[in-house]
Each structure stands twice: as C-alpha cells, then as structure tokens.
Amino acid sequence: MSFSLRRVGAMVLRYWYLLRSSWARLLELIYWPAVQMVMWGFLQTYLVEHTSLVARAGATFIGAVMLWDILFRGQLGFSISFLEEMWSRNLANLMMSPLRPVEFIAALMIMSIVRLAIGMVPVSFMAIAFFGFNVWGLGLALAAFFANLMLTSWAVGILVSGLVLRNGLGAETFAWSIMFVLLPLSCVYYPVSVLPDWLQLVAWALPPTYVFEGMRALLISQVFRPDLMLQALALNALYFTAAAVAFLALLNSARRQGSLLQTGE
C-alpha cells in the first residue's frame, strides 16, 4: 500500500469533527491573534504620532505581528492536532492502523492551515477595519512570506511531535515554547543589523529572518526581494527534510522503547 489521500482525508475529517464539537476551541483560534493584532496596532498608531522613524516604518509592526502569528500559530496548529491524539490516548489505535507516518504528517500540515485560516482570516479583516492595514494587498509577496513561514512552522511541528512521540507528554512543553526561541533570533520586530555580529550569523541561519527582512523591505522601501525568499526556501527545504528524518528516527526509537503503547507522562 502506498500513500493514500483517503487516509489523509480521514485524519483531516477526524480533526474537523473535533474542532466542530467545541465552540471554545474555535473561539480560541481567533482570540489570541485578535488580541495581539489590536494591541500592536494601537501601539503602532501611538508611535507613529510621536516618532519620525516609526512614521517612516509604516505598518511594519502590525505586519510583523501578523506574519509572526502565521509562523507561531502554524506550528501550534500542527502540534496541537498531534497532541490531541496523546490527550485522547488514541495514538496506539492510529499506529496500528494502516495510516503511514507521512500521511499522518500530511494531515497535520493540512490542519495547521485550516486552524490558521479560521484564526487569521477574520483577524486580517479586523486589521483593515481598525488600522487600515491590508495584508492581502501584499499580493504575491504575501504568498512567498506565507509559504516560507508555513514550511518553518511544519518543520518545527514535525520535530516537536517526534519528541513527544518518543518521550511522552513530558515533552509537551516544547510544543508551546519552542517557537519563542525564534522570536528574538529571527528579528521579527527589528532589522538583523541590530544584533551583534556573531548573533547575526545565527539569525541568517533561520528562514523566518529572511521573511521578516523581506517584509520590512517591502513595507518601508516598497521593494520585493525574491533573493531573500529563495534563500529562505532553500533553508526551509533543508530543515524540513531534517525534521522529517528526525521524526522517523524518533518513531523508530519509540517502537524500540515500547513507548507507543504508553503515551502518558
């Protein structure tokens, strides 16, 4: 049996049923991105009135918040769908079914986009209504930013899921916290040039850094930098492959340790 879209669809359906069953789960998807966007939006409005630099920087704060949310919530959407299997003690049922790891991962990737869309689409319209910032107006650049950020979020989500698979729910904390390491290093709210030289090397090793630099170039200088997007894509291909290999290694390790049947802490 090879890759089956039917099995991927079955898993997407499983998570869709879950989302549909709880209005609180749906509300949470919109709640945090909306709070973030409104807070940073008003801060930007205040700073624009009082600082000439920020006035020149235009909508970079609110743009950065929204792109950061794509990165952060993309990974969270992936990881939470995976964690749902651990919380419901359903993982063994899935692992002994014909569902292949690559199909499982594909379903989690689709669900991260679904969850992100439920949260971010309404928030993007709120940004237009409250602050006149139209993220959709970025056009093709937005597609390039989105693709690169999602690839990074999936790579991190795959790695975290592998760690939880291997080590149980004790490793759950990675799902909630690991992305915050990227917040200062990938220069979400400031240019890379702010960092000390040695830390800039680290920053340029992270695909989101290219996206946020690209966003600033677009919003401040009105220049789209395809070179930055291609470099981010190359790094993403590398990290995504590494994460997938790590996931399979951690899955095999879990099979050796017998931890697939014991999915508690």
Binding site: R7, L13, S21, M96, S97, P98, R255, G258, L261
Partner: protein
Amino acid sequence: MSPRIHSQAPVAVEQLVKVYKAVTAVDGITFALTPGAMTALLGGNGAGKTTTIASIMGLVMPTSGRVSVLGSDMTRHRYRVLHRMNFESPYVEMPMRLTVRQNLTVFGRLYGVDDLAERIAALAAELDLTDLLDRPAGKLSSGQKTRVSLAKSLLNRPEILLLDEPTASLDPDTADWVRGRLERYRDARGATVLLASHNMSEVERLCDRVIMMKQGRIVDDDTPARLLERYGRRTLEEVFLDVARGRAHLSEAAQ
C-alpha cells in the same frame, strides 16, 4: 515447530526477545497460530503478554527474533498487512469528543472499508449500538465503550484479531454478551484470534488453545482440556495459579 510451518501460519513468532533497558520483557518465545483458531495468551502481570501482542502489531520492535503476520515481517513490512488485522483493548481509548458514528467513520476510512455507512449500520445493529451512534464516545459507560471499541476492531473484517482483555471491567452479563459476539465473528469469518485475558472462564469458553507465559517465557502451551488433564485440575484458574506460583504438579497419568 518448524520454520516451514511458521511461514504458513497467519501469525508466527520466532525466538522473540524484547529487552527494555535492563528488563527482559520477552525472553525467546516461539509459537505459531493456527488459522481460524482462537488462542489465549495467559500470564500474570509482567509476564510479557502485552509486549508480545504489541510486537505482533509492529508497535514494538523486537530486540531479536522475528514476528511475521500473514507472511509479512512486522518490523520491516507491517504496512503490507495492517489493513487485514485489528486490535481491541479497553486500555486504548477512542477520541472522546467524537460521536460513535464519527469515530467509526474515521477508522473505517483509515482501513479503507467499502460501503462504510452500511458497514457501520450493520455493526451497530449487531453490537446494539444503533441508539448510541450520535452520542460522544466520552459520554458512554465502560460497557458501551467496549462495544464501540469492538465495533472499531471488526470494521475491516480482520483476518487477524488481537484482543487485550476485551471484557475487563464489564459486568458478567455484558461480558458474556461480548464473548458471544466474538465467537460468532470467529465462526463466520474464520478469523484467527489471539486473546490476552485474566478471565479463565472466558478462556475456557472461547479458546482452542492456551499459551501460558511467565517472566517473558512460554511455560506451557496446550488445549484447555489437555491442560486440565495434565495438571489434574478442574478449572483453568487452578492451572493458572499452579503456574503463576511455581507449583506445577502434573498429574501422574499425564506424566
């Protein structure tokens, strides 16, 4: 048993060893299941039953030895046969927020079941679940959950059915009812069933053969009738206690 017989058996376990760090959970066991037979795996807690079943499903990778199911090596080629087998255990739950119908739909699609809606309706009628189909799985009693779990395990009409204490925590009436359904399925499908249980009357009623494990090893393997005869006991429970407490005194006639 010869390797040739093993290669033809629906489930063949050969010199299986599983070591977790310093603990040997399974210590070189060999057995093959007979097609269409129901075999019990008996043993006290920590005897190695769950590890054996998990190895047969490919959930646990053997330290050494080999497990093959329907001719496929479960360490390397488990995806060739997983759609032809299934598993039921009260200790592995199904998503609680999903309704019974949603759960069965998801698993039916995972197993590639044709005419799924009809299959779910038929199983629901068979297992007395029709009125529960649109209720969340988490709101069911333990007996109802067991029936749902059983329905999931029968969805794909498995040729190999692995059961881990399928009637644990059920009242005697429901447990008897579940046993009847399992018998009926085995007879109708000709399925090969491996059953881990602590309920000796269940084993006596259902099983053609009993494999007794202790400390990761097989200490006896025979039909229930032959075990009773050889140990000179009236019930399998007495035989189990003899084996578990190391006072195996085979009857003189049998010796």
